[in-house]
Structures are given as structure tokens and as C-alpha cells.
């Protein structure tokens, strides 16, 4: 034991010595998550607040569980977008969780949403689907899971405000064609493949037309959602959730 302690001490001393010898103030790399995720902000904006580019969504304030699931899905290729697949390929789960928690904890002011110039009837159709669903196809209202204010739901369901129409329709399309998948049972796969093209256009346009509020993900453990979703464990394992 003594030998072990001594060798640790020597190792630590060596490490400290090296650090003092090398690093001047300008050379020092901050030991923070913010410094570690600089690779993300080129596309997702400072603090993950989003950028003008439609396809690089805001990360800040989304539930950590949702962000984590996306990072793992990109890493393992269940969600396909080559630049993200490549960046995350060799990062371990624990680190991806730290990244997710980092962006979930931020809440920078959102970018101003560009005016959506779509026919009023389309926006009304979209609003109806978002608030009432499509009962004939057993599609629940978006607000049933994504929150009454569409700010998302802990731990795994994202908010839907501040996303551009092209992004939302691209994601629904990707789900329908298997380019984007979530943990089984993949509830959004069912929804995306049940929606018609005009319905997708209506939902996307309506969501993009809504003002971005400061609403945060709701936290209501034990609430039963209309569909079982692998990314929202409480919907598939109500008993386990209750025990926690």
C-alpha cells in the first residue's frame, strides 16, 4: 500500500511539475464544458442558441435526455447526417451525457423567428393538428406530448418552438423514410408515416409561425402519454417510473 501511495505521489508531482513548466496563462485551455463543445457552436450558434441556417437547430434548453438520445443516435448511425455521425463517432456515453446536460442547462435569448408567409388555411389546418391531432388516423395532438406550450417534456421530448418549417418537414420526412430513428417503440415513426404530405406542410408551417417563448420542458413524472415511446421511458414502463 505504501509503495502504491508513493508511486501515486510521484506521478502527481511529475504531472504538476510538467504543468507548471509548460503552461503560461495564454496557453491554458479552460477546463470547462463550454471550451469542450466549441466544435458545436460553429453550426448551432453561441451557447447552442441556433443560427440563421434552417437545418442547424437550437440546442439550448432542450431536455437533456432528448439531446443525449440524439447524440447517441448520431454516433451509432441510427440518425444519419454525415457531419454529425463523423464528429461523434468515438465519444463515450458518459461524455455525450455531459454535452447534453451542458446545452440543456443553457437558455440564451432565441433568435428572432422569420415571418412565415403561408396561406391562412394551411396555418389553420396546422394549428388543428397541433392542438387536436388527427383522430381518424389515431394521431395524437402534438401538445399532448410536447407540452401545452410546446416547450417539450422531461426527460426525452423536445420543444417545437423556434424551428423553421423546412427543418420540421425534413425531420418528419427523415422519420418516415428511416433516415432518422428513435429508440423502440419509435412513436414518431408511426406519426410521421401516418401524416399525409399536406398535413406535414401544415404542421411545419404552423409551428414555425408561432412566437418563440421562454417556455421550458414540463416535468410531470408518471403522466401517461397517448403513445408508448422508447425515448420517454415513463410511457413504456409506468411502474418503474412510479418507484423512482
Amino acid at each position: 500500500m505504501k509503495i502504491l501511495n508513493a508511486s501515486i505521489a510521484i506521478a502527481l508531482a511529475g504531472y504538476a511539475g510538467a504543468a507548471v513548466g509548460q503552461a503560461t496563462a495564454a496557453d491554458r485551455i479552460p477546463d470547462t464544458m463550454e471550451a469542450r463543445v466549441q466544435a458545436c457552436i460553429g453550426c448551432h450558434g453561441p451557447q447552442g442558441r441556433g443560427v440563421e441556417n434552417v437545418y442547424f437547430p437550437r440546442l439550448a434548453g432542450k431536455p437533456a435526455g432528448y439531446l443525449y438520445n440524439q447524440l447517441v443516435a448520431f454516433r451509432d448511425g441510427r440518425r444519419k447526417y454525415v457531419p454529425m455521425n463523423y464528429l461523434l463517432a468515438y465519444l463515450p456515453d458518459a461524455y455525450l451525457m455531459r454535452m447534453a446536460e451542458h446545452f440543456a442547462s443553457l437558455n440564451p435569448p432565441p433568435l428572432a423567428q422569420p415571418r412565415v408567409d403561408r396561406p391562412a388555411q394551411l396555418l389553420r389546418d396546422g394549428q388543428r393538428i397541433v392542438t387536436e391531432g388527427v383522430p381518424g388516423k389515431k394521431i395524437p395532438a402534438c401538445i399532448a406530448c410536447h407540452g401545452a406550450e410546446l416547450g417539450g417534456r422531461e426527460p426525452g421530448i423536445p420543444g417545437l418552438l423556434g424551428l423553421r418549417a423546412d427543418y420540421v418537414s425534413a425531420q418528419l420526412g427523415a422519420w418516415r423514410f428511416g433516415v432518422r430513428t428513435a429508440l423502440e417503440p419509435d412513436c414518431m415513426q408511426f406519426i410521421a408515416s401516418s401524416l399525409s404530405e399536406p398535413e406535414v406542410a401544415a404542421v411545419s408551417a404552423h409551428l414555425a409561425s408561432l412566437p418563440v417563448t421562454t417556455s421550458r420542458p414540463v416535468r410531470q413524472p408518471g403522466v401517461r402519454l397517448p403513445l408508448a415511446c422508447g425515448s420517454q421511458p415513463s410511457t413504456t414502463m409506468p411502474k418503474q417510473e412510479a418507484r423512482r
Binding site: I29, Q38, G42, V82, N85, Y86, L87, Y90, L91
Partner: protein, 429 residues
């Protein structure tokens, strides 16, 4: 009798073997022998797992996120797509019916138990050097993982490469069967390193130039080469000026391999995979032995026509000053005005051999796609470099890479927008 409770507590296997062996020697009873055999088997499995990591079997035989060794990961090659088979112990779809002899024969000769010749995507030209004992340990480990019932996909190779008979010719040219033979004039450590680098590590698969037949020639061993289909350049490991390790400190080589970052450079792309799945798990002694061996590789001549020597410098002034402007605005915060980096997480660019080497593929790709070094035991939360593909056009990237390749004493050749454009569309698996 102490051995049983200890066994339940799962002491490190090696210690357990020592204790059990001692107890068995004093009390040679049947029960003790059984415990001893079980513990011995456990330690062989553990050792086999370590060796399987050294061989990076998982890289090809496991689809990311799928069950270990269940196979079918596609490997695109210039000859078509190969699918690494299921090597779990499933009797029908895996290697459950194989014997240790079958496994050793496959590793050693590149022949399956059914007698057909393996495609050299399976690095049997390297694995042939693995000892029988190590092969047996790997086999014991593979037998210990959960069996997965999953049919292996057929390879999807173009004519004429789909004809396995052609492999006879390939083997004549590029395959020399035989276990590693120690060089008695070198140290034990050097020989251990050579065994790992040449054998399980199968480093030559990427770091030796690959010719049109997919073979790597012995006389050009470790001189570096473009990795087919992946569009990354594997630098030379010899002591030439390209990316040779001759003037590296031993600890920097160790850090690069095991931690993924070092004071001299960082692993990205295919090498990040190797560190992530394989090298980070290797013992300090083994990594050091590999570093000792690599550092000792003699210098080669370098590429015959080196573009760095081409008289193009006068034409690059404009790109150079444009590149300097972009560098100051976008790169200098992390890599420093003088390209010295911030060690070890922001790699130095000045006198970084992988920046100035004859192929500009890697620096162009880094600027386009950015990258995270692998998350490793010694560096679990690496710092990432942002991609610039969405921000800078082909001319701008060519300019900044030209600047980086020629500033601060770097002696790389300038880069054209066309080269950038070709890599912009390069796919990564």
C-alpha cells in the same frame, strides 16, 4: 478453502489464479482442482479479451450499437463491399462449431475451416505472426461472449474480384505465413513492440502503401499511404521527415496512441477509431513497447517526387496572404498566432509533420469536417475542432490550408480549390 469467498468477490483474475494455485499445491483435493481450472479458464478469457482489443476485432466485426461481434459491418473497398462475419459462438451463424485448431489455422494461414481462402480485408497477413497461445486465448474469449443468431451477409464484390481463386495469386505476392520470430539482437521490450505492431496491431494495413491489387509490399513497410475509400492518408511511421517518429519523445508516441492526444499531434479519422477501440485499453508496458519499436524504424527515402520541392512558391503569394487573414480570424484563437497550439488538446500546426506531408488530404479534411479526438480512459472528455465546410468556400479553405502548410517553417505544397472540392463530397461511413 479461502478461495471460494474470494472467487465470489471477483478479485482480479491474476491474483486469484496465484492464490488458488497456491492453495491447490498445499491441499491437492478434487474440489480445489475444479476451482483452479475455472479460475485458470477465467484468466485465459480475460487475457483473450485484452488480445482481441489489441487486434481491434470489434472495429470490423461489430456494427456500432449492435451486439458485440455479431458481424455484418460493411467495409467498402475499391473492389466492392465486404461484410465481416458473425464471430459469436452461435453454432449455425457464428463460429460455435469451430475448434481452437480451426481458429489458429484461420489466423495463421488465412483459410476458413471449410477450406476457402479469406479475403485479405481480414488482416491474416499480420495475424499470422500471432503465437498459438495468444490465438487460443482470443478464441477462448470469443467463445465466452453471448451467442448471437445472425446470418453473415455475403460479400458484394465486383467481377473479377468475386472469384476467390484470384486470392491464390494475391497470397503468392503479399502473404508470408509464419509466427513472429524474435530478433535476439534487440531488447525484450523492442521484440514485444514489434510483435504487437506487426501482428495483432496490423498497423501495416494502413501505414504501408496499398497498390492496385490491394497488397502492401514488404519493402515499403510503414512508409504511409492513402487509405482506400476512406480518403484519409495514413502517415509514414518510419523516421523520414513526413510523419516519422524518429524525433518524437517516447512519451509523446505513448500519449498519441493511448490517450489520443499528445504534444506533437492528435489522432483523428481512422486512427481515432484504433485508439478508441483498441490502443486505449492496452497496458502502459505494451504501449511503451510499441512506441520503442516504432521509434526504431529506419528512415526511408520518402516519396520519389515530392511536391514540396516543386517550384510553385511564387504563385502562392495571393493564397498565402488570404490564408493568413482567415487563419488569424478563425484558427489562431486555439492554434495560436504562431501555430504552436495549446498542448496537448489544441495540436501544434507549426512543424507538425502531418500538416506538411506530401498528401494534403488530412489537413484539408480537418478544416472541412473538424473532429473530436477519441474519448479515452486517459482523456475521457476531449476538446473538439469545429467543422468549417459550412462557413468557408473551396477557395478559402485552399488558402488557409496553403498558409498552414507553408507558414512557420512548414514545407508542404500549396493546395488547390479543386482538391478541396473533391474532399468536400468525400463520404464518411
Amino acid at each position: 478453502m479461502n478461495a471460494r469467498p474470494l472467487f465470489r468477490k471477483m478479485l482480479p483474475a491474476s491474483l486469484l489464479v496465484a492464490l488458488v494455485a497456491g492453495a491447490a499445491w498445499m491441499l491437492p483435493s478434487q474440489a480445489q482442482n475444479k476451482v483452479s481450472a475455472a479460475a485458470g479458464k477465467q484468466s485465459v478469457v480475460e487475457h483473450g479479451k485484452y488480445l482481441a482489443q489489441a487486434g481491434d476485432c470489434i472495429a470490423c466485426h461489430t456494427v456500432p450499437g449492435a451486439k458485440i461481434f455479431s458481424g455484418n459491418r460493411p467495409m467498402p473497398t475499391p473492389f466492392g463491399t465486404l461484410y465481416a462475419p458473425n464471430i459469436t459462438p452461435d453454432r449455425d451463424t457464428g463460429i460455435g462449431k469451430w475448434s481452437a485448431d480451426d481458429f489458429y489455422n484461420m489466423m495463421h494461414t488465412g483459410r476458413s475451416p471449410k477450406g476457402y481462402l479469406l479475403y485479405p480485408a481480414m488482416p491474416f497477413a499480420s495475424y499470422t505472426k500471432v503465437t498459438r497461445a495468444d490465438s487460443d486465448a482470443i478464441f477462448a474469449y470469443l467463445r465466452s461472449v453471448p451467442a448471437v443468431r445472425q446470418q453473415s451477409r455475403d460479400h458484394d464484390l465486383r467481377f473479377p474480384y468475386n472469384n476467390r481463386a484470384l486470392l491464390i495469386g494475391w497470397r503468392t505476392l503479399y502473404f508470408k505465413e509464419g509466427e513472429y520470430q524474435p530478433d535476439r539482437s534487440k531488447s525484450v521490450e523492442w521484440n514485444r513492440g514489434a510483435y504487437l505492431v506487426q501482428g495483432l496491431g496490423h498497423c501495416a494495413m494502413c501505414h504501408t502503401p496499398i497498390n492496385a491489387l490491394g497488397g502492401s509490399s514488404q519493402e515499403r513497410a510503414f512508409q504511409g499511404g492513402l487509405i482506400p475509400m476512406q480518403n484519409w492518408y495514413a502517415p509514414s511511421l518510419t523516421s523520414n521527415r513526413e510523419a516519422g517518429l524518429g524525433d518524437w519523445a517516447l512519451q509523446d508516441i505513448v500519449d498519441l496512441l493511448q490517450m489520443g492526444v499528445s504534444n506533437r499531434g492528435t489522432v483523428y479519422g481512422p486512427m481515432a477509431e484504433v485508439t478508441f477501440n483498441s490502443l486505449q485499453f492496452m497496458s502502459d508496458e505494451d504501449i511503451r513497447a510499441m512506441a520503442v519499436y516504432l521509434k526504431s524504424l529506419p528512415a526511408d527515402q520518402g516519396p520519389a517526387s515530392d511536391p514540396a520541392e516543386a517550384p510553385a512558391r511564387a504563385d502562392i503569394n495571393q493564397a498565402y496572404s488570404e490564408g493568413r487573414r482567415i487563419y488569424a480570424a478563425r484558427c489562431a484563437t486555439c492554434h495560436g498566432a504562431e501555430g504552436r497550439g495549446k498542448l496537448p488538446h489544441y495540436p501544434p500546426l507549426a512543424r507538425n509533420q502531418s500538416i506538411g506531408m506530401s498528401s494534403a488530404v488530412n489537413p484539408i479534411r480537418m478544416v472541412l469536417n473538424g473532429g473530436y479526438p477519441p474519448g479515452t480512459r486517459r482523456n475521457p472528455m476531449p476538446y473538439g475542432m469545429p467543422p468549417f465546410a459550412q462557413d468557408l468556400n473551396d477557395n478559402e479553405i485552399a488558402a488557409v490550408v496553403t498558409f498552414i502548410r507553408t507558414a512557420w517553417g512548414n514545407r508542404g505544397a500549396p493546395v488547390t480549390a479543386r482538391e478541396v472540392n473533391q474532399l468536400r463530397s468525400a463520404t464518411v461511413e
